[in-house]
Assembly symmetry: C2
Amino acid sequence: MTTNTEPMAEQLYGAMSTLRSVRRLRTDPIPDAVRDRILQAAAWAPSGGNVQPWRVVVVQNEAQRRVIGDLYRIEWEKYGAGARQGLQHLSGEVLEKQKRTLAAADHLGEHMGDAPLILVFCFNPENMAITDADLGRPSVVGGGSVYPAVQNVMLACRVEGIGCTLTTLLCFQETALRDLLGIPDPWYTCAFLPIGYPALGGHGPISRRAVDKLCYLDGWGQPLKGR
Amino acid sequence: MTTNTEPMAEQLYGAMSTLRSVRRLRTDPIPDAVRDRILQAAAWAPSGGNVQPWRVVVVQNEAQRRVIGDLYRIEWEKYGAGARQGLQHLSGEVLEKQKRTLAAADHLGEHMGDAPLILVFCFNPENMAITDADLGRPSVVGGGSVYPAVQNVMLACRVEGIGCTLTTLLCFQETALRDLLGIPDPWYTCAFLPIGYPALGGHGPISRRAVDKLCYLDGWGQPLKGR
């Protein structure tokens, strides 16, 4: 693939290709100016009908972060057990890589409340045209008006040198979280991002499938190239 | 808000803040190298458990694009009627702006099949941990493993000078589209992006709510600043 050497392309692709999940965070505060730039990135994201049917509760208060951390620990203990079992089928380099990821996830499971900020994304389904609501299969389209903003936040964290990861596990604790943060009807939770300066290496190389395993041309399974 | 003048931040924020929906597209083909960079941007996106439970069918074949264009026309005619009625409650500058947007959307409604490429995003719900599936309210979390990739595609289009817009209206025609493109069980459609070089001005300034209308601190409705 030839590269695009225009500065905007080069820098964007550089950010995207090194956006890792960073799960070991320092407790140092994030300056308000940095926080505000990250939130501005969310605000720039497109949404259906430009309605922007999402809000972010930025949790900085330590007591609230502790509660969220405790709720996350409960959910991670359940979910992590399954992830640990999954390791039994792996070996060699893949196993070692997964063990490192799991260790980082276990760290977050213990320390989510220590992140200087936790971003809680909420959405209002009444302001969404959910075109796949009645198709008799799981619906995802509502997410099309929220997760572009979440991705903008993660890319903004990358360029600000802030570590972040997206979890949706806390949806299992939605009732408790709505009480804690005063989230009114008909708003619900859909994304949780602990963010902070990286404790270790932070952003860097990522592992993803090759494009030709993910993308087809003119029909399912048909290769992009060599036609 | 102070700015971050590092090149990566400056260029990323420049791309995000000028990513418009571009609905009037030229028919000129998109070079394979450009297409491949845009798809690579999708592949870099994060997803739950790094599973990447999405695929893109890139539709370049003219006969297939015509069918998709016809299906889109049907859905836009229904949806656009509602959008037109909504104008009745507007006046002045807001009305003029909405009329321009609607005219561009009507153009796309007639000409989607003329776009040189249509990206059809598919997802596999069996490869997703949909944590909000059983909460008794609309579920969006599955989208968290797909729309970050869609947003990466749109940002990549921006920096490549390619116009794009995201529509989910064609989910109403999912059965026909799965037949047309040979999409197998248990894969479903969730995002459709006609892309091409802009016929008019292309990307540029965007209208969004202010950050302090979208983001709260330590509780719903609590202002970010001035505490």
